[in-house]
Amino acid sequence: MPAVKKRRIVDSITKESIISNLANSTRLDERGLLDYRNLEIETKILKDKTNGSARVKLGESEVWAGIKVETANPFPDTPAEGVMTCNAERLPISSQYIEPGPPDEDTIELSRVSDRGIRESGMIDVKELCIKEGERVYSVYVDVAVINDDGNLFDAVAYAATTALLMSDMNKFTIEDDEIKMLDEKQPLPIKSVPVSTTFAKIGDKIIMDPNADEEEMATARVTLVTDENGKYVSAQKGKPGGFTFDELREISVISKEKGDEIRIKIREAVKNGA
């Protein structure tokens, strides 16, 4: 139940520069308020041990995602559904502000929001992950490592997880005489949609997108919206001890879809290039 922890320190010159730039609706790194940093997505970077993988660089933020598809017993209340779990780790290599050890509340939030984005969008058809009802299902583990943290991990982790899932395969199986046999042959995961996360931060009365680490620290509020290719809102999470007005949220929801569509194209391109 930590209330105060080792927090990023933004020096006062940087702070002032950020604020004076924002006053002119521009950013310290010369972006416009709603511009994303350069986004690089690379696939198959962990091809020897995973069913799918992706590396995302969003500006200087870098995350690696790896998918492992194993088999498991289904949960008793969903005997005909497979399982998907998404877990993000903020590695201590990623920042001087991260201590090794069990995940803190920020990391747990990051994991759970990433997980919900995939889950609530119905990206994976968990019914298609059933091998034999009540007995055996596929279990899809999405693990994401934060390698370098320069802010907006919510989006970077989401893009890496989504891309890695889109690249991922899983073993086929046969059932003979009631016995399950896993085969060496592969098939793609049952993907139904491509959710895209977008993140906004508020500094003073300005709303910016894709905050870097300094901006994120200075922001009073942050909100992540996940939309799918049908323009539906599937997940949202506000963070930081401040708030947005209703008008701000309505405006954000409009921009979220537009930006989401742009980024979805980049994700699909990376997948196509990697296939």
């Binding site: 105060v4 609530e120 599937v234 997940s235 401040g242 007005t245």
Partner: protein, 239 residues
């Protein structure tokens, strides 16, 4: 907006809250406390502080620090919950703390801690919103200087219809849930989450509906505080 609607399982109108009652000052050992019954939710919140900070290195020189824990009793859920704190409870503790913090005038209490403990004794849909209302009332009951009360309520989508305050029976067939917390005086939304599937129109409608719910909860909190301090159920008295 209550015309031409699909009937809810509960028989409630689309913009109708479950039964809510809030009682302030229910825990003697706490500096402030409240019990909320919100549908089947039974939730207690207690506030301790401003008090000494432990461990010392967490102390901040120019303001209070806020600790917040949302915790479910094992008997509060359909299937018994294991006693260990879950990742879900840790996340909800965080978003509740961030929802309440903007209302607290932390600068008035430098070098101290304000602790907020929330205990879910019986859970229903919307427990995090119910918890925020209880905690906000408990903070006021503790006499903590506040900019505003924090009112919280969820809107959602059930059977294709945007409705206020989804309960756990509706949640089973529900398509979306959007919990909101609001500081009514400033208009700031300090908790905002969404799980499910909403079109832009539904999104806006849910936001709007959530706001009306928060307004009702705001009044209920003030009533509860008035009842305790002025023995006045209508909550109209001035301080």
């Amino acid at each position: 907006m209550s015309k031409n609607n699909i009937e809810r399982i509960s028989g409630r109108a689309p913009d109708e809250l479950r039964n809510v009652s809030i009682k302030a000052g229910v825990i003697k050992n706490a500096d402030g406390s409240a019990l909320i019954e919100f549908g089947k939710n039974k939730i207690m919140a207690a506030v301790f502080g401003p008090k000494e900070v432990h461990p010392k290195h967490m102390m901040v020189s120019d303001r209070a620090i806020i600790k917040c824990r949302y915790h479910m009793m094992p008997f509060s859920t359909d299937t018994r919950k294991r006693p260990n704190i879950s990742r879900r409870e840790i996340e909800i503790s965080k978003v509740i703390r961030e929802a309440l913090q903007p209302a607290i005038i932390m600068e008035d209490y430098p070098r101290t801690a304000i602790e907020i403990y929330i205990e879910i004794l019986q859970s229903d849909g919307g427990s995090r919103c119910a918890a925020i209302n209880a905690a906000s009332t408990a903070l006021a009951d503790a006499g903590i200087n506040m900019r505003d009360l924090v009112a919280a309520c969820a809107a959602g989508k059930v059977n294709g219809q945007v409705v206020l305050d989804v309960d756990d029976t509706e949640d089973k067939t529900g398509e979306a849930d959007m919990p909101i917390a609001l500081l009514p005086n400033t208009g700031l939304i300090t908790l905002f989450q969404l799980d499910g599937n909403l079109s832009k129109e539904e999104f806006d409608k849910a936001l709007e509906l959530g706001k009306t719910g928060c307004d009702k909860l705001y009044k209920l909190q003030r009533d509860a505080l008035s009842e305790k301090y002025f023995n006045d159920k209508n909550g109209n008295k001035e301080e």
